[in-house]
Symmetry: C2
Subunit: 263 residues, 2 copies
Amino acid sequence: MSNQTQTAQNSADHQELPPAEKEFLANYNPADYERPSVTVDIVIFTVRDNDLKVLLVKRRFAPFQGYWALPGGFVKMNESLEASAMRELKDETGVENVYIEQLYTFGDPQRDPRTRVITVTYLALVEGQQIKTLQAGSDASEAGWFSVYQLPELAFDHHYILDYAHKRLRAKLEYTNVAFQLVPEKFTLTELQRIYEIIWNQKLDKRNFRKRLSIRERSAYPEANPHQMLEELEETRPGGNFGPTKLYRFIDRVERIVRGIGV
Amino acid sequence: MSNQTQTAQNSADHQELPPAEKEFLANYNPADYERPSVTVDIVIFTVRDNDLKVLLVKRRFAPFQGYWALPGGFVKMNESLEASAMRELKDETGVENVYIEQLYTFGDPQRDPRTRVITVTYLALVEGQQIKTLQAGSDASEAGWFSVYQLPELAFDHHYILDYAHKRLRAKLEYTNVAFQLVPEKFTLTELQRIYEIIWNQKLDKRNFRKRLSIRERSAYPEANPHQMLEELEETRPGGNFGPTKLYRFIDRVERIVRGIGV
DNA sequence: ATAATTTAGTGTGACCAAAACACTTGTAAT
DNA sequence: ATTACAAGTGTTTTGGTCACACTAAATTAT
């Protein structure tokens, strides 16, 4: 078993295939094998009304017609998984341009009564005020935000998937900055703290929270906690019946939206 | 958008479907939709000869015939993804009964020149001495362990997948006990330390390493670091040209093999 | 037999992060 | 003026991480 190196051919350039492969491709018929269906399902969270909410759609068709379910649908042949997830989210709910990362792939043979369906799930986050109105798409008769603590009966194994996503979100708050995805562009530190408190479902100490933020800024994980992530703005927001509060901005918010590394 | 609760029907019992769903199922034809192929690919690591090795197979057929690739193959219709991964690993290499956890799902439309292939990848770990001989299966003409630092050209996007798995393994050593999967049943603390050093590719301080182990034992993450995970055995191993060394055992090793939580 | 070699095994101090904890200040409403 | 409310701010204790050096046991070479 040697560590021999192959003759040079980049695994990425499919343009120049050797003759044997060309012949194989010519004879290859994708219909020769029975294949499972592949869907994407999206667990999209927001924080709103002091509560962690998830977006669900009411199924217009069988199976589980009339049940609430995670938005999702079949992956198209020429579309990446992530693009699929974003398209389904937009089609079924009108929500677009959000942070999204892959969650897990569920493939129990019995999870869909129709046929074998493997679903690649995504975790998405969106700031609460950004979504004005939800629009139900062709596959969904209704769409709505539900408290993760008061859920209706869900279709398929979606309850399990949602649980899994909730756990992952909780865990990711500990070592990443995903929480910034749940806050408007300009925010107060108290608002940011509320995000953590709601997702972890516990009160946090104000001073410790702020100290941790400043420590995280100069932390050793530039990927998860980029330097200088918080910018203190000149601007303040007038308090209610108390003093004005400082506003902050998240530097490089746009980049962060792109894609979670997920290591 | 209310939080209405549905009439009782457990999403798990597909036995009693309402008439509308029954009718839908009767008319449902899985061939109506074009579907991608789904494969599993396994990145199985071992530590051996002071090096982190990965198991590769040489492809017997096109595409990428003759190239080294991760073991894997098509998911069968009635088999879970995890079972698929274990079956392919056994079929192509003879390796079985190992720790395995899902890694990521890669689904770029162009990643396979034949057709759309979505691959669910798994990270597996096995102790170096446990595998006596590798046996190449029907799809692989050869199977062998390669240093992750000296890899041949790989088929498809397998180089990328392998990189991703390596990163994940490195990260998981920090907060879980997966390293125990890479060590024989009875081991010395120095052997365990070598595992960390090899995967992180850096020397560790002996005293700090041992202290960290004892701290981890009473740590606050029972899932990742179960209490009392290390048992000091009476038995010792005679040293080379030095004194005898204490042997340890990993308590509940069997349970741990089952499945990574992966949150 | 003596010396040299090799690895096992062990403790302390400095630093840093996390957690617990309380008061002052500015504004609006009364 | 008094009250109500949330913003903003610092210290102490505790525990983990890291850097660091010597002794003991056995084998090998002389």
